[in-house]
Amino acid sequence: MSKPSRDWLKGVLSAYDTIVIGSGLAGMTSANLLAKMGHKVLLAEHHYNMGGLATWFKRKGGHIMDISLHGFPCGMIKTLRKYWNQDISKRVIQLKNIRFDNPQFSINTTFDKIDFTHILRERFGILKEVIDEFFVTARAMNFYDDLVMTTRDLFEKFFPGRTDVWRFLMEPITYANGSTLDDPALTYGIVFSNFMDKGVFTYQGGTDHLIKEMKKELLRNGVDIRTHCMVEKIYVEDKTVQGVRINGQDIVCKSVLSNSNLLTTIEQLTGEEHFDPEFIKEVKKVRLNNSSCQVYMGIKRGETVPHVGDLLFSSVADEYCTDKILSKDVTSRTFSFYYPEIRPGTNRYSIVSSTNARYQDWANLSEPQYKKDKHDLEQSTLDALEKYVPDIRRKVDHVEASTPKTFKRYTLHPSGTSFGTKFEGLKISRDLPKQINGLFHAGSVGIIMSGWLGAANYGVIVANETDKFLRQLSPSLVTASA
């Protein structure tokens, strides 16, 4: 049983400069930066662990399972160094064996521009000039581009009719952020180019290590961290933030930086009545991104798994197809293989299978049906894995599945969204402070601001805005640190 809620707020101050709602990577990164800038920061997280979707769990038999540590772009090294610390950034290592296996092709790659250029030429027979031009176009895309062009248009232009090439270029990105061929091409260009820069990277030590180190750094910088603390309400008067209610207790603050889902922040925590009706009209148009299912497989102590790849995009579908990728009738899975190098010294292996999924496919099942469907998902996943790791059933001693309902329960995200909102959410997120003084949102939004790198960097961008706001309130706040 959890203790009475007031314990979790014991010793809390009566007022803060900023209250950060949620300890996802965006929330933690902005809390850390704001504290370093000299502001008094409270970080409130409803769960007992920090990290949000950057999380892990432990199971009997010494198993540790990572939820969203499958890979991120090398830009994360710089982000961790600049906004966290050198030691944390030094733990980032490359995953060199990315595999595709589907009816159209079987390919191993380091997932960077040089290797992709080579594969597109040799394997898919694309002209060098076309490939170069494609990379330049993708790299040049930015936030200010027009939104008319979709990723489908982009592919159609460079690789007309080549659904095999489309799949090669798109499938990993669909897994990375839920985007589809119908999303704006710039969301593809930005994320794809980030990966193509140098490849796919991970964190040595596992998610648990990372979050523990981040927690230490937050405490060093003076952030007041409170887990088991649900923010229930953001108080607004005269279009200005006044404070929040946490576990039934009111706390005053000059600004709120919400890492809770964008729509939850507006509709539930703040209340639509505080916004312009025109703004709310736009809010209603924001589409949530999809959710996920995962199957976690813990390998017995002493057992090994041969090196079959770090990340494996496997599919039995004829062609790339978003609908099929989202379907409950799973044809595509991304397997992440965690070898002992991920957690040096433990000598343990685990495998996680991820699929994109729709909340509504899982939300309204009867309890027995839900259990059965989860069980079927576990079994069909083991069947699919058998092809790559023969005898897998003999090697595992823990199998467990999560669904969109699981993601919703732990993160409170509506429909268990894994990657925030579609592109239109970004503008809403950016415009919040224009609606309400002192109200900021940072977290997975707009496709480009999702993933570990996107969320953390967006936390920095919004911390900058929050700092600017706070300094305008108290211009004397100059920290002359050199």
Partner: protein, 87 residues
């Protein structure tokens, strides 16, 4: 603060942001981006650091002035000329 003081401050901020780069070899009149590996997040860091150290706000429309070291110096010196260098 003199122009040279401002120049040194910018260089020290750049050294923090890009510790692996040879800051001393930066040419004042060539775009910073063409000389060292800087992205838009790094420019944001420069702006945040200036606000933190000197309480000066560089509006987004003025970011273009920060493209070269000489540009930084001529944009920032008037804003900083009455300040004492922190010891």
């Amino acid at each position: 603060m003199t122009m040279e003081d401002v120049r040194q401050i910018i260089l020290s901020i750049l050294a923090d942001i890009a510790p692996d780069e040879d800051i001393s070899s930066i040419d004042d009149n060539t775009k910073l981006r063409d000389q060292i590996d800087l992205d838009s997040m790094d420019f944001l860091d420069i702006v945040m650091e200036l606000r933190k150290r000197f309480n000066i706000e560089v509006p987004e429309k003025d970011y273009e002035h920060l493209a070269t070291l000489a540009g930084c110096v001529s944009y920032l010196t008037p804003l900083l000329k009455d300040r004492q260098l922190a010891s």
